[in-house]
């Protein structure tokens, strides 16, 4: 017991309002200087486990807690919250919602102020924490104006300033671009090496494996599915559910039947620039910026053709979302013009553009409002002035395509996150837009969930072209037939995936981080001739 930071024995918890336990019979122990990765699908009980360790359960979330938890040899039941908060630091998933101070230094000071520490002590600890994370330069900045990666680091500094022995990280990589994610992982590894005990919940298993966790805890339906060293994980995990390094999938997939071939945009013949047909969307020399800041977009020459499945890659702040907002008419270029079916967007309202381009926002909760799924889907076509009989047909078809038949009368907000995402896509399908535009379609969802619906979307018969923004290069590798790379407001590369993504040094200079699947695909390109998912590559190798 002496040298154990977190000790969990047979823990079961049931939320008061639920009939079944969220976690059941979980036991493990972690030593100082150890990193434990906690993995599992959405809703498997990972967050509940974290709440049991940081004391939010049973203090803020009521229910029935059984089993024993001790922190540094003290039973958690006997520790007051003030003590727990100094022993256990927790960084929540969304940094935006846990940063409480208007300025960085106030944010880092928050916990120390609550403990009633001396002002000189607080100032000292703020400087230590900021220096440790390497963000002293942000000290006096307003927290609201920081980038996602910077916010994550500030949140971490705010927790470290309380000098905890144990750090709990709940999906710290979820909202970060690959470069910021690597940065965060590097800091975590450093803290572990210096003796911190870290428990990290994360979907992006592959990324975390790069910093060599000492233990992995795989949870399925609230119970431990696997516990032990990383090597053993590969043997038990279902590679459809948890994303493993491509080489591992390659080894495992040979034993399974080959995946079905993807039929991208089945009803469209791919149109190339040479055919002379006009582009669906055309950017001519587009420039955009705000008064005080440098240009957000410049020299943008870009066309969307029939049959394109375009992945837009680039670091946070590269201009991806601004580019897309120009395509759907939410922003109009300051110089140059954007043409949709040959018409300048300056002459079109957003509603008129919506007939051609349907935009699925990142978070469904920003758009869902109606009391039934049916009404939610009818909203778009009604706004566009479709006749009533046609709307009914469009709505029912859209519901069927996203596989939500039977849920017409349910409230969208009562559905699970994955289902909400599908409703938000169906809402765009019902408008009969010809081009589908998606911003980070996979953010915040587990691997199997998003692979399933990406498979479904790219094979839908409705669309003439699809365009999506993503941080996940593998998504581009698997689904796109064209990759657009942005850096500092410019398009720096545009072409077929195997042409754009083959120079790693160049990619890194654009803040894009190569993945194991990309490496594998480039290695096998002479045989495969095009990029494929690892499961498909496995069978290619055999034949």
């Amino acid at each position: 017991m002496d040298n154990i930071a977190v000790w969990v024995k047979d823990v079961t918890f049931r939320y008061r309002e639920r009939s079944t336990p969220a976690i059941q019979g979980i036991s493990f122990s972690v030593k100082p200087g150890e990193l434990m990765l906690i993995a599992g699908a959405s809703g498997c009980g990972k967050t509940t486990l974290i709440r049991c360790i940081n004391g939010l359960i049973p203090r803020s979330y009521k229910g029935e807690l059984q089993g024993e938890i001790s922190i540094e040899g003290n039973s958690i039941h006997n520790l007051p919250l003030a003590r727990i908060s100094q022993l256990v630091g927790t960084v929540l998933q969304d940094p935006e919602r846990q940063i409480l101070g208007t300025r960085v230094r106030n944010e880092v000071a928050f916990g120390l102020e609550n403990l009633g520490l001396d002002r000189s002590e607080i100032t000292l600890r703020i400087d230590q924490a900021l220096d440790y994370i390497g963000i002293q330069n942000l000290r006096d900045r307003e927290t609201f104006n920081l980038s996602g990666g910077e916010k994550q680091k500030v949140a971490l500094a705010g927790v470290l300033a309380m000098q905890p022995k144990i750090l709990l990280l709940d999906e710290p990589l979820a909202s970060l671009d690959p470069v910021s994610a690597q940065d965060t992982l590097r800091i975590v590894r450093q803290m572990v090496d210096e003796g911190m005990c870290v428990l990290m919940v994360e979907h992006r298993v592959e990324d975390v494996l790069n910093i060599r966790p000492d233990q992995v805890l795989l949870i399925e339906n609230g119970m431990v599915h696997y516990q032990g060293a990383v090597e053993g994980l590969y043997k038990v995990v279902n590679y459809h559910e948890i994303k493993l390094p491509a080489q591992e999938v390659l080894k495992r997939a040979i034993q399974d039947p080959p995946p079905q071939d993807l039929k991208v945009l089945p009803s469209v013949e791919r149109q190339s620039e040479e055919t002379g047909q006009p582009a669906l969307v055309q950017f001519e020399d587009v420039y955009f910026g705000y008064e005080t800041t440098p240009a957000v977009l410049q020299d943008i020459q870009f066309e969307i053709h029939r049959g394109d499945v375009i992945a837009i890659l680039g670091a946070n702040g590269a201009g991806k979302t601004t580019l897309v907002k120009h395509a759907i008419g939410l922003l109009k270029p300051l110089q140059g013009r954007v043409l949709i079916d040959g018409v300048d967007t300056h002459k079109l309202s957003v509603a008129e553009v919506a007939k051609t381009l349907g935009y699925v926002f990142q978070s469904p909760s920003h758009m869902l409002f109606a009391s039934t799924v049916y009404d939610e889907l009818a909203f778009g076509p009604t706004n566009l002035g479709h006749p009533a009989a046609q709307i009914e047909k469009e709505v029912l078809e859209a519901i069927e395509i996203v596989n939500l038949s039977g849920k017409e009368k349910e409230a969208p907000l009562s559905l699970s996150f994955g289902q909400q995402k599908r409703v938000s896509i169906a809402a765009v399908l019902a408008m009969r837009s010809r081009i589908l535009v998606m911003d980070e379609p996979t953010a915040g969802q587990d691997y199997q969930n998003y692979m399933d619906f990406m498979d479904a979307i790219v094979q839908l018969p409705n669309f003439e072209a699809i365009l999506f923004i993503t941080h996940d290069i593998d998504l581009a590798v698997i689904y796109a037939n064209r990759v657009v790379l942005m850096n500092n407001g410019r398009i720096v590369a545009d072409g077929k995936p195997d042409q754009v993504l083959n120079d790693f040094n160049q990619l890194r200079s654009w803040n894009v981080v190569p993945t194991s699947l990309l490496r594998l695909n480039l290695d096998m390109l002479p045989i495969s001739k095009r990029f494929l998912r690892a499961e498909a590559l496995a069978h290619l190798q055999v034949s």
């Binding site: 929540l92 409480l100 101070g101 230094r105 106030n106 957003v350 919506a354 926002f361």
Partner: protein, 286 residues
């Protein structure tokens, strides 16, 4: 950006003082102004408000929109009370006619007439000065008080930790709320929703706002759970907290506070002895 902080450091009378002292002054000024209807007294208050405005360092360009809104609002209501004579009934009983306007048309046989009286004229003017004083003093606050200092200011004024921090938290999350609103507006516009096309009565209009109001509200509710967790996890509310930022009173602040209290006492006393009630120059009443 829907919400941007208007605050910045300026060469400004308001910022020369400690925010606590300024809020005390602001409070005393507000109460004192509301005690009077006498245009002579109100002129003094309006003059003070005007000086504060002019020395606030806020450029006309910055506050043009809220100012124009407030000015048209004040003028509209002053005109309304002037024309109808309503509102002033509480402060005067008798009216002295200047002229009577008989409108050159009739509605269903009723000939609208407007009595223009000295009382109504001075009541409208007094109202104008009163509202101007209050609005002028209030409008400079967001431009001149550092949003990061609201919490410590109210703590310094004796409010409990939790209440004072709640104000800090509000300041922190206003821009987040604004951004959520903008995102929702964009998402609904992309579904063909046009805010400009809102028609119908008030209820119908509010109903048609549902695509904006519902997601923003739901988001705020979901977010609040995380915020509460984040505060609990960092030991908020376990005991008296120390505040990192400090505010320091200078001599000028004590002077301002003394002056504010004096102003309030004098105003209360005058009002208690029935000074400063509604007044029309006697020469017009003969």
């Amino acid at each position: 950006m829907l919400v941007a902080w208007r605050y910045r450091e300026r060469k400004s009378l308001v910022q020369w003082f400690d925010p606590r002292a300024w809020f005390i002054f602001y409070g005393c000024f507000l109460v004192s102004t509301l005690l009077f209807w006498d245009i002579r007294y109100l002129s003094v208050f309006a003059l003070v408000a005007l000086i504060v405005l002019l020395t606030s360092g806020v450029e006309w360009q910055e506050m043009r929109r809220p100012m124009l809104f407030i000015i048209s609002f004040i003028l509209f209501f002053a005109l309304l009370t002037f024309l109808t004579g309503r509102g002033g009934i509480e402060v005067y009983r008798q009216e002295h006619l200047i002229t009577r306007l008989i409108l050159p048309f009739s509605l269903f046989g009723w000939q609208p007439t407007i009595n223009i009286t000295w009382e109504r004229t001075f009541f409208a003017l007094s109202q104008l000065l009163r509202v101007f004083s209050l609005a002028g003093m209030t409008i400079v606050i967001p431009y001149t008080i550092n949003p990061a200092h609201y919490g410590i200011t109210f703590r310094g004024l004796g409010l409990p930790d939790k209440f004072a921090y709640a104000i800090d938290l509000t300041m922190r999350f206003i821009p987040t709320f604004g951004r959520d609103f903008q995102l929702t507006l964009d998402a609904q516009k992309a579904r063909g929703y046009e805010l400009e096309k809102l028609r119908g009565g008030l209820i119908a209009q509010v109903r048609k706002m549902a695509p904006l109001i519902v997601p923003v509200t739901i988001h705020a509710i979901i977010a609040s759970e995380d915020i509460i967790d984040a505060m609990d996890l960092r030991a908020f509310g376990i005991g008296p907290r120390s505040w990192l930022d400090t505010l320091e009173y200078h001599r000028r602040d004590y002077i301002l506070i003394g002056f504010s209290i004096l102003l309030l006492i004098i105003s209360l006393a005058l009002s208690f002895f029935s000074y400063g009630k509604f007044w029309v120059p006697p020469v017009f009443l003969s």
